[in-house]
């Protein structure tokens, strides 16, 4: 029970701090908005091209913005050494990771679902009828990105090249998330609006494997 109450307390803290500063949500939203607008003006895609290339572009923008959003996740805990205070107070260090990855998933998902509407306008794609199905794909993709990104944020926050290390480590590792997410999104843009469970299955497997690895080995990432 202490594990869940610790996780809930830490998740509340993450959300409280973010909704007070708006740092992560603002940065990620502006970044995705710029990418969508720039791509739209640069390529001026037709409706067919939007459905073909839009999902890939969208998920690339999500990944790059996630690397911006996840960077401070553990870095800010180093500023005042609050990570040490948390390690002394929690029963299981996995609670620290779980709270952070849940918060990061929520922040990513909120950003994605809001900017999806901007994407729909600029790329002339009707997303309203498939919004719940897209939300499922975005959730599974975001969870995978957050799990990997949160773990790597803990690693990179202790490194010397901490500002550039996270994207370098994270982006190649997230190829197994990028491809199924983009393909599942593309399938939803097709006239049949089908949920492709083969791609979603890969996403679920990725999420489970990385979450289990984090549960087993996360403690070592926090050690000095």
């Amino acid at each position: 029970m202490k594990f869940f109450s610790d996780t809930a307390a830490l998740l509340q803290k993450e959300i409280q701090a973010e909704f007070r500063s708006h740092e992560l949500l603002t940065t990620a939203s502006i970044f995705i908005l710029i990418v969508i607008v720039l791509f739209s003006f640069t390529f001026d895609p037709t409706s067919a091209e939007s459905k073909q290339f839009g999902p890939g572009l969208l998920w690339l923008a999500f990944l790059f913005s996630a690397s911006l959003m996840l960077q401070p996740s553990f870095l800010k805990e180093r500023t005042n050494d609050t990570l040490s205070a948390l390690r002394l107070a929690v029963g299981d260090p996995f609670a620290i990771f779980l709270a952070k990855l849940c918060a990061n998933t929520i922040f990513l998902l909120v950003t994605q679902l809001l900017l999806l509407l901007v994407f729909a306008v600029f790329f002339n794609v009707n997303v309203l009828s498939i919004y719940p199905k897209l939300a499922l794909v975005f959730f599974l993709g975001s969870f995978g990105v957050s799990t990997t990104g949160t773990a790597l944020s803990a690693v990179s926050s202790q490194a010397r090249m901490r500002e550039v290390l996270l994207p370098i480590l994270m982006l190649p590792l997230l190829v197994p998330v990028l491809i199924p997410s983009a393909e599942a999104t593309r399938a939803l843009f097709e006239p049949e609006h089908a949920l492709r469970w083969d791609w979603l299955g890969i996403l679920i497997a990725f999420d489970v494997v990385f979450l289990t690895a984090l549960w087993l080995f996360g403690e070592y990432l926090l050690e000095e």
């Binding site: 307390a9 050494d81 040490s84 205070a85 948390l86 002394l88 107070a89 000095e224």
Partner: protein, 232 residues
């Protein structure tokens, strides 16, 4: 390991080495602190005081040797209060939110009243709902001390706790440490030179270049440990 509240506990450092790369921060440190003892840890900057305190909190793993808690039995740890040189506080939360968060994590009963009680003791009650980032260094230090005392620790580790405190706050800290010492709390505090606070200690230990060079109890040689060089 699980926690146990309020039990007296001593600390035993057994042949502790700590290396950062090729540099020895601690070298063969071996001594024991009895339950209820109040120890002043002194030495020059970079002598290894902070590293030793962090090893005592179990936040840092020694390269060689081990730290154990006497009086703790089985798979239990004493409750440890730790005031670090870094403040260990969230600047984007208020003073009350900080204490409430850690009280919740430490499963303190009546966390609201305990938090307010400590804010009043540290003269921060009027600023309970102010963001910590608006505090002065001294106020942050008082709040950091309040956070360390939330759980009524049986072992209190203080890393230069007087940093940034004004005279009134320093007096409060001294009286608080005196009360805790008299209640049987084991206290280890790193200090620079002699002060009201260091005079509360019943034992002084001096580190130099990571090695223990002096260890004396109240008596003729006690004061000399605080002087540069200390006793051999």
């Amino acid at each position: 390991m699980s926690r146990r509240v309020g039990e007296p506990a001593g600390i035993k450092f057994s042949q502790i080495d700590k290396k950062f790369g090729k540099l020895y921060a601690l070298r063969r440190v071996d001594f024991e602190i009895a339950a209820g003892e109040c120890v002043a840890l002194t030495g020059r900057n970079g002598s290894g005081k902070t590293t030793l305190l962090r090893i005592a909190t179990l936040l840092t793993r020694p390269t060689h040797g081990e730290v154990t808690f006497t009086g703790a039995t089985g798979n239990v740890l004493p409750t440890i209060g730790y005031v670090s040189h870094a403040l260990m506080l969230y600047e984007e939360l208020t003073a009350l939110e900080n204490l409430r968060l850690f009280a919740r994590l430490l499963q303190i009963p009546k966390l609201e009243s305990r938090s307010m009680e400590l804010l009043e003791a540290t003269r921060l009650a009027a600023r309970a709902n102010s963001l910590v980032r608006t505090f002065s260094r001294g106020m942050k230090q008082r709040l950091a001390i309040a956070r360390a005392l939330l759980e009524e620790p049986s072992v209190l580790l203080l890393d230069e706790p007087s940093t940034g405190l004004d005279t009134e706050s320093a007096t409060w800290l001294t009286s608080t440490v005196r009360v805790l010492r008299d209640e049987g709390c084991t206290i280890v505090m790193s200090v620079h030179g002699e002060s009201e606070l260091s005079r509360l200690s019943t034992r002084a230990v001096r580190l130099d270049s990571g090695a223990l060079v002096a260890d004396t109890r109240v008596g003729a040689t006690f004061q000399s440990v605080f002087a540069a060089g200390g006793v051999a």
